[in-house]
Amino acid sequence: MRVLKLGLVQGVFGGILGWLFGFALVIGSRLLLGLPAQWNPNLTGLAAYEPAVVVAGIFFVVGFMIGVGAVSDWLKWARGIDTPFNHGARIPGTSELARYFNVDYSHKVIGIQYAITGVLLLGVGGTLAMIFRLQLAQPELNFVPPDVFNTMISAHGMIMIGGILLGVGGMSNYLVPLMIGANDMAFPRLNAFAYWINVPGALLLCVAMVIGGWNTGWTGYPPLSAQAPLGVQYFFLGVFFIGLSSILGSLNIIVTTMTMRSPGMSLFRMPVFVWSAFATAIIQLTATQFIGLSFLMVLVQRILGMGFFDPGGPVWSEVDKWAGGGNPILFQHMFWFYSHPAVYLFVLPGLGIISELLPVFARKPLFGYKWIAMSSMAIALVGFLVWAHHMFVSGMSNYLRVPFMMSTLLVAVPTGVKFFSWLGTLWGGRIEFKTPMLFALGAISVFLIGGLTGPPLGTVATDLNLTDTYYVVGHFHATMFGGFIFPFLAALYYWFPKATGRMYNERLGQLHFWLMTPAFWVMSLGQIFVGMHGMRRRIATYEVGLDIGTAQMMVTIAGFVIFISVLIMMFNLFVLARRGQRAGANPWRSRGLEWQVPSPMPEMTYPATPVVVGEPYDYGKPGSIYVQFAPAAPALHTGASITGGD
């Protein structure tokens, strides 16, 4: 069977074997020591064997990674065997498609693997949302029981975040080497490892829903998460491994950007997306450790009784005993130290995509390139100083509220610079409304809602009212859609011809946009409205007396319209485009490096070294050249250097 030879399938087998091994190991050691196999005789099913289940989950990931072959080369190195660096189909006689189910070192394959897995996860999360939105469409519906509802919203949150992280990884893995003129990333094997560890991580997240679920929301605050059903452990593990992928992937991006740029590409001649990917990578590299650590601490509190967050017993100020003293607030600090900058790492690549697309379709230079590039860095750095604004009502010390309010509001400044610079870019252009451009513009409008609803949450007095209501849900979804989903879709449409050599159906693309954008506006404004009228966050149903049924119904309907419009996109890209027009090397007349080579790109994108000799966005300046291919190597196609304008 050829299917059985696929890395993915072997990985799943390896994972299952690893799980059984880990489970048997722990239970076996217990029995050997003469202890009962069950930890807690009051519980039934897997929950009674919680520590064994956790260890088994870790071995599941180890088994998966060995089975899929992501560590084979390293194991060989450890034994002193050098391995060739293969670029291309690894198993002779298998199809091109099979590359995507095996460990492959090409950054283009890995980028697409990331993107597709991301879209799949977003699909799973979206479907969950559709189910519980049905219950919320009208007051006092109860067909989803509260525990299932809680599991679904928690899973929706974290699976969507996983999907976004994978989407971000897809964009930066695929685009950064292309844009800086490199043939691959600095560490291709690490790149493959970083992608593949997401798969068992995502599987653990999904399995968590069926082994008891968890009722904590995606934030997983203890003490609730310390008392939640078994599923919370696989939620922790899943996030932990996806976080590991973030760290390794971003390390790769930073080294690639720092060391592999084409000759002549100084930092301020990089495409602006690379700047935002770089800023993102800095956040991912450092802050991610904190969410991993905070979840790990709850995990060990559950299985080993280490009371980091368990307030039982005397508080630490009266330490005459060693018992108790845990503090749930510590978790919130550690959690948000990652999870707030995380929001910026979701949106920065998206904002980079907008900045990348506007000049191409307006045929104009990017207005204030350096300001846009630096505002990404500013957002990333200020983002580290604002985490506690999620905790204004948490019982955090009162005097800390004011400085965090100030730093939070400061984020508005670099974000404003981006908005105004975009307007400056559009002004005086010859704007063309192709699908990618529509999505970039839609992103601006949607991100505007997200951005403008932010300051009321930043000032403490209004936040006391609004926090943890549906207002936050509306704000957050607008930020995520405007900052990630819309630009991600724009990027999908924009680079689709480059990756596949085929054009998507423009008319369906436009239909997708015109369904999705108004629907999103309705959804987002509806959520904000109900939030201001007494709708709390994360409740399974609401009272008739609140009188928000109509608005909720509109939110649900709008949600379904968005869902359907995404299905249209899937049909367009995955079915129709197979027979689409040939795209040609540069359908958008872009100045970017990757558009100067044929579509689809050759295995080694740049056989001739590209040499950067000009500015990246000099549209409209006669005779301006961005890149020349090294004269020593043969030119790839006529007009290897390009001119902006006519």
Partner: protein
């Protein structure tokens, strides 16, 4: 208390051992490896001399490096002892000064942090 022993001593050792054995087994059964493994074994069979060809030429550099190493070690030891006794003063700030000094010694001399910015290999 058996729990403690199990979780913190027996389990890590057993798990670590199992991982190593498993990884070793996997490298054995990995396809296409037999030839490479044989070649590696053959390379090992060839006697490796105790010193490389440039041993004599590089002797001054080794000696200089050994001197640096000893001085750094003595410095670290001294700082640690000072730290140990100054702890009684209860000054956290002072402790941090010593910590930073020790960290700087290790990062500069042992970890060669400067090498990150070096573009030419200085071997």
């Amino acid at each position: 208390m058996e729990h403690l022993f199990l979780v913190f001593i027996a389990l890590p050792l057993v798990v670590g051992g199992a991982v190593l054995v498993g990884a070793w087994l996997l490298t054995k059964i990995m396809p296409g490896d037999a030839a490479a493994a044989k070649a590696a074994a053959a390379a090992q069979a060839a006697a490796i001399p105790a010193h490389g060809p440039d041993y004599a030429r590089l002797t001054p550099r080794r000696k200089a490096a050994l001197r640096t190493g000893i001085v750094v070690l003595l410095g670290l030891a001294l700082l640690t002892i000072v730290e140990f006794f100054l702890a009684a003063l209860g000054s956290t700030a002072l402790m941090f000064v010593i910590i930073i000094l020790k960290a700087a010694l290790i990062m500069y001399f042992f970890m060669h942090i400067a090498a990150v910015w070096r573009t030419e290999e200085a071997h």
